[in-house]
Each structure stands twice: as C-alpha cells, then as structure tokens.
C-alpha cells in the first residue's frame, strides 16, 4: 500500500525531507510511526505526538487506506 507522509519542524529535520511517498504494510498510524522511527531515529515518543490523516486529526488505531496522507504532529508552539 502506498501512503503520502509529510514531516514538519523537528521531524522534518530528522527525516531529512518534508514529504515522501511510501510503500508500507503498516495498518495504522501507530504501526507506521514504529516503522518510520526505526528508519529515521525520531526522538519524540508517540505519546508526545498527535497524528492527522487527510488533514484531519485521527486516532492512532485508524485503519490506513492506500493514498492516505499522514502527518505526525510534534508538540505545538504557536503564539
């Protein structure tokens, strides 16, 4: 299954890219984060993040579908 993953802020720097198309067997955002953390050595734990699928906040246990756009959201700091 192919997914689009976008990276922001600290995670963009750690991944060395702002987005990519990814071939993965991950069934959920939680599985995907485990896979990507082993690849990019992300330092933030899942408990520190939120996740969005197709530009809306999502549960970590949502079933991903081909073509979904996933964004992991580090602790925010607006204002």
């Amino acid at each position: 299954m192919q997914l689009k993953v976008q990276y922001y802020a600290l995670m963009r720097e750690q991944a060395g890219r702002s987005e990519e198309m990814l071939e993965t067997a991950a069934a959920t955002p939680a599985d995907l984060y485990v896979e990507l953390t082993s690849r990019y050595r992300f330092t933030l734990t899942r408990e520190q993040l939120k996740v969005a699928v197709n530009s809306e906040f999502s549960d970590w246990s949502r079933r991903l579908a081909a073509g979904d756009a996933v964004v992991f959201i580090p602790p925010v700091a607006g204002g």
Binding site: A9, L10, L44, V71, P74, P75, V76, G78, G79
Partner: protein
C-alpha cells in the same frame, strides 16, 4: 475566514477594520511579540512553520467556538509564518463585543487555545549559535513539562 496565516507583517489596521460592527461597544486585541529570551537562553530570531491545511481548520474551529461560547460580535486571529526578528508581531487576535468583559474573555480564550491546539511550530535561534524547536528538543530528552507553553513566550 476568521483564522489565517501571513508570511508578511500583520496589518493590524486592516484586521481591526474587519471587526467593526455597529452593535459593538468595545474592541480588545492581543499582540504576541518575539521576545529576546526564553528558558535562560538569549533569543536572536525565530522561525514559524505550520501544517497549514489542518492549522487553518483548527484555528477556524477555535474562533467559531469563542463566538458561540461568549456573546461577542466579531473575532479574528492572524498568525505569522516564516522568519521573524525580535519585537516582530507573531500573532494577533481581535474581538469586538457589545460589552468589554466578553471581549476580554473571548480574546484570552482564543490565544490560549491557539497556543495549545493549532499545528504551528517555533524554532528559536540563540545568541550562542545553537537553535531549538520549542517544546520539542528538551521534552525529547526529559519528561515533558508544560512551563514553556505557559510562559507567554512570544
């Protein structure tokens, strides 16, 4: 559109005009500015980055909630992205209302919620030459504590 981003200086005169309402007896605004220190470090400049598709939706939801929760007439929030220098305005919130009390309350509510919910990130550059993503670097190394997000750092 009650929440938006801009990559150039926030035009507060133009923003204020959007809140004019003949039923309003008062107007309150908040400006967040870039400060020269945070958590013991001398800050020289900031970068703001946002996940704009979701940030605009969440920002709109926050302002809509404020309009529903407080009896105010108009409300608007504008946030900068990109590179900012010391004393630049990072965020602007304005509210007009029949009475001043609701305008203060709604303005406070909007800025507090924006800081906690909208996917915007701030990278500080320090006098030392070091830099860091606020709320991300230290919390990755140590248990999360929330003082940074309550310090009214601008």
């Amino acid at each position: 559109m009650r929440f938006r981003f801009t990559s150039t200086a926030i035009d507060t005169a133009q923003a204020r005009r959007q809140l004019l309402d003949q039923g309003a007896g008062g107007y309150v605004s908040f400006e967040g500015w870039v400060r020269d220190f945070n958590e013991g470090q001398e800050v020289t400049r900031l970068e703001y980055e946002a996940f704009q598709e979701l940030a605009v939706k969440e920002g709109e939801r926050i302002v809509a909630e404020a309009l529903q929760r407080f009896p105010v007439r108009q409300a608007l929030c504008i946030h900068r992205i990109g590179n900012l220098d010391l004393s630049d305005m990072a965020v602007w919130v304005g509210v007009s209302a029949v009475h001043r009390g609701e305008a203060f309350d709604a303005c406070r509510h909007i800025i507090d919620e924006v800081k906690h919910r909208v996917p915007i990130w701030k990278k500080e550059h320090y006098r030392s030459g070091d830099s860091g993503w606020v709320n991300c670097e230290r919390c990755a190394a140590a248990p999360h504590h929330d003082s940074a997000s309550h310090s009214m750092h601008k």
